[in-house]
């Protein structure tokens, strides 16, 4: 029989920088790559989160000035 495990990043994808700074350490605000949505509003609870440790590119975006 088979085994259905979680999706893995595509081959050749850069390792996602999951940064959880140690308590005393400086936190330079790199976003851990978890999704911005909270589980309570993601709808299909049975599938679980789609975005965990995905690589977040470092490129500018049109609406960046808004933030």
């Amino acid at each position: 029989c088979g085994r259905k495990g979680p999706l893995e990043p595509p081959p050749g994808a850069p390792a996602a920088a999951v940064v959880t700074p140690a308590p005393g350490e400086d936190d330079d605000g790199i976003r851990p790559s978890a999704s911005l949505q909270r589980p309570t509003d993601s709808g299909a609870a049975d599938q679980g989160p789609l975005l965990d440790n995905v690589a977040r590119p470092d490129r500018p975006f049109l609406l960046d000035p808004l933030l």
Binding site: A22, P23, G24, D27, G29, R31, A34, L36, R38, T40
Partner: protein
């Protein structure tokens, strides 16, 4: 006996009063809307809106939330009034401390209820408002506990 929490007449004249030490707390960046609401509330409670001095402490808040209701309409199987439950644990560390022992840690929680109806858009917006209200209570409880701790442990 009772004395002002933020009073300048703190026992040891030399020590910084509670307000200065509070505003030297840097709150770790949030990764979702509700944690950001808590963070914005905390930053105001600590600094009163003034510019923050060089940080001496770092505060980290971890939250998880749930929806719960004890009154469900048997004919529509929909809750008629629902409560948004937000639970948080927080940990205050001195920046650069190497022993990994926190200065202070504790828990806080907020509950906010709202009415649900057949109009799902109204329900979603009511839930969003309840999230903000619960976050405000969590921020208030964290501030009170940390301020009381700093006031009684110079």
């Amino acid at each position: 006996c009772l004395r002002p929490l933020y009073g300048d007449t703190s026992p040891a004249p030399g020590n910084q009063n509670v307000r200065d030490r509070l505003s030297a707390i840097e709150v770790q960046e949030a990764t979702n809307r509700i944690d950001q609401q808590i963070r914005n509330d905390l930053i105001f409670a600590f600094t009163g809106g003034a510019a923050a001095p060089e940080p001496l402490y770092r505060l980290r808040v971890e939250t998880n939330d749930a929806l719960q209701s004890a009154v469900v309409d048997p004919f529509t199987s929909r809750p008629t009034t629902e409560t948004y439950a937000l639970d948080a644990t927080f940990r205050l560390d001195r920046i650069g401390s190497t022993d990994g022992k926190p200065v202070f840690q504790g828990r806080a929680f907020g509950r906010a209820s709202y009415d649900r109806s057949r109009q799902r858009f109204a329900t979603i917006r009511a839930r969003r408002d309840a999230e903000d209200r619960a976050a405000d209570v969590v921020a208030q409880q964290i501030t009170t506990q940390i301020a009381a701790h700093l006031a009684t442990n110079p």
